[in-house]
Symmetry: C2
C-alpha cells in the first residue's frame, strides 16, 4: 500500500466537516476561509514515542494527546479551534493501530468541531505532528506578555495530576486505590484542554499560557515576557483529592503541582477590576479555577510562599520539563 492509499483509507473520512473548508484532504494543499475580522492562530506540536508518550500508549491515547496539546495552545491564545493538519511518522502499516488512531481522531474533531484538512504520512519512528489553526478577534488575542504589577494569578482545574499519572505508569509512584490511580493516569493520557475558558478570558485576562512545562516554568514565561515578578501562595495551589491522598507529604504534592508538566490547564493574570467578572464568567461555564498568587513589580522574581512564609523546595528539582 502506498502513502496515498494509506491516507485515503484511514484519514479522508476521519473528520468532522466544516463549511469554511473549500478544498480539504486530497489536493496539493487545503483551502479554507477565515471569517471577516478574525485573526488566525496557528500552533504546531510534535509528540515522539518515548519522549512525550510511553511506548505502550494506545493509538487512542496518542490521538487524544496530540489533539489536546494543540487545542490547549489555541485556548491559551483565546482562539476558537477550526482546522488541523496531521503529519505522522509510523514505523509500519499496522492497520489495527491506524484504525484505532483515526477513529479517535474523528471523534475528537467532532468534539472540537474542527476539520482535518491535510497532512502527510511517512515511514519512520512513531511520531505525530499536528498543526492546529483557530480564530480570534484582533482585540481579544491573549498573549504571555500583558501581565501587570498587581494582577491576580489564576489557574484552571488542578495541578500535578498528570505528573503523578506518568510516575504511576513508570512505577515511580505507587497508588493503591483503583479510582485515584485511573484518575491520575487519565490526566496524563487524556488531558482536557480549556478551550471554553480560553474564549471566556478574552478581553478580561491580561496574559495567559497553558501549563505544559510545569507551573513554575510557565509562570516565569509570563513574568519574563511581561516584565513583572510573581508571588505564588503554595497553600492555595489546587491539588486534586486523588493526588493529595496518594503522596507522602505536602511537599511531594507541591512538587508535582509546581514542577511536573502536561497538566494543560490555563494559567492567567487578571486585573483587580475584572476579577469578579472573570470568576462569574468561568462559574457560568462550570470551569474550576483558583487564585494562586499575584504579579509584582520585581521583574523576573519568583516568590514562593507557604502560609505567608517564604518557601524553598528542599530538593534540587529541575525547573520543569527539559527536552534535552
Amino acid at each position: 500500500m502506498n502513502e496515498f492509499s494509506l491516507i485515503k483509507r484511514y484519514f479522508a473520512d476521519a473528520s468532522y466537516v466544516r463549511k469554511d473548508v473549500l478544498v480539504g484532504i486530497g489536493d496539493d494543499a487545503a483551502v479554507t476561509k477565515t471569517p471577516e475580522n478574525q485573526m488566525l492562530a496557528t500552533t504546531t506540536d510534535t509528540l515522539v514515542q518515548g519522549v512525550h508518550f510511553l511506548p505502550n500508549s494506545t493509538p487512542q491515547d496518542i490521538a487524544h494527546k496530540a489533539i489536546a496539546v494543540n487545542m490547549s495552545d489555541l485556548a491559551a491564545m483565546g482562539a476558537e479551534p477550526s482546522w488541523i493538519s496531521l503529519s505522522m511518522s509510523v514505523p509500519e502499516l499496522d492497520e489495527e493501530w491506524l484504525q484505532g488512531f483515526s477513529e479517535k481522531l474523528k471523534q475528537l474533531t467532532e468534539y472540537y468541531s474542527i476539520q482535518l484538512i491535510g497532512g502527510d504520512t511517512v515511514k519512520g519512528p512513531l511520531s505525530i505532528t499536528i498543526t492546529a489553526q483557530g480564530f480570534v478577534p484582533e482585540q481579544s488575542i491573549l498573549t504571555r506578555s500583558g501581565a501587570k504589577n498587581g494582577d491576580w494569578l489564576f489557574v484552571t482545574g488542578t495541578l500535578g495530576d498528570a505528573g503523578a499519572g506518568l510516575d504511576i505508569l513508570k512505577h515511580d509512584l505507587n497508588v493503591e486505590d483503583y479510582e485515584d490511580k485511573q484518575f491520575l493516569i487519565n490526566r496524563h493520557r487524556r488531558p482536557s484542554p480549556r478551550v471554553i475558558a480560553g474564549t471566556v478570558l478574552r478581553r478580561l485576562a491580561t496574559s495567559c499560557i497553558d501549563v505544559s512545562d510545569g507551573l513554575l516554568q510557565d509562570v516565569m514565561h509570563i513574568a519574563n515576557t511581561s516584565d513583572v515578578g510573581v508571588i505564588i501562595n503554595l497553600d492555595k495551589l489546587p491539588i486534586s483529592g486523588a493526588l493529595g491522598r496518594n503522596v507522602a507529604d505536602l511537599e511531594q504534592a507541591l512538587t508535582y503541582a509546581c514542577i511536573s508538566g502536561d497538566d494543560y490547564e490555563l494559567l492567567f493574570t487578571v486585573p483587580e477590576e475584572h476579577r469578579t467578572t472573570v470568576q462569574t464568567a468561568l462559574d457560568s461555564y462550570s470551569v474550576p479555577y483558583t487564585c494562586i498568587g499575584q504579579m509584582t513589580g520585581a521583574t523576573g522574581k519568583l516568590d514562593l510562599r507557604l502560609d505567608e512564609e517564604p518557601f524553598e523546595f528542599k530538593e534540587p528539582y529541575a525547573k520543569g520539563y527539559q527536552h534535552f
Copy 2:
C-alpha cells in the same frame, strides 16, 4: 540547553518579518491576519532522513528541500506563500548543524517573503515537518479536479533530472561530465518550486498539480479526480541536456522523466481558448513550459505515445515513488 533556549537561539531570528504577523514565535500560538477576500491555502510535508534525503545531506540541503516541497504545493494551488511553521526532530544538539540549517532557513524565508511563525523542536531521529500557508483568491484556486476532455497538458521546466541526481548520489548512475553531474544533483537537492508560475496560472489553468511522485502518477491524480483520460506524447517530454547526454538511451531518459519524482515542476491543463494567453504569460515571466499531451474523454485511461505510436515501457517500472 532546553527546548526554549534552542528555539530562541536558532530560530527566533531566522526569518523574514511580515507585517501581517501579529504574534510570532515565542507565545503559545502565532496570530496572523489573512487579507480580505483571500482564502488560506495550507499544506504540510515531512522529510525523513533516509527516506526523503540521504544521510549525508547538508543542513542547507535539508532546509532548502523542506521549504521547497511546501512552496511547490502552494504553487500548485495558485497560492502566494505567506507563513511557515517548522517542527524538527533532531537526534542531538549539533550547534554547527543548527546554525547551517537556520541560516539557510532565513535566506529562504527572505527569498519567498514568508515568515517563520512557530514550531516545535523534539529529540529523535532527524526529520523536518513544515506546514506552509499562503493566500489565494477564492475564484483563483487551482485544484486537481477541473481538467476537461480536450484540455492541453503542460509541464514547466524539465523532467527526470532529480531522479537522475538521486541515482548519481546513490552510485546507480555514472555521469562523467562535472557540470552535468552537478546540475542533476542540484535538481535533486535544491528543487526550484514554480511559485510564480502558480500565480500566473490562476483563472487560466483548469487543473494543476506539482510533479512530486513522478509524471505518470501525478497526471493520473489529475485524470482520476477530474474524470478524464490523458494522452502523453513522450517525444515531447522536456528532457534537459544534462539528462539526455548521460543516459544509455531514450527509454532510460523517458523512464526518469515519467517515473522518478521530486522534480517539483507544475503539471497543468489548459483549455484551447486560454492556450495562447498561458504561453504569453509564462513567457513574460521567463518560465519554461512544454505542451506534452491532451486530456481525453476516456476516464482514467493513460495513453502513452512515442512518435504517434502507442508506447509501453519494457521494464516493469513501479508507477512512481512508493512510500511503503
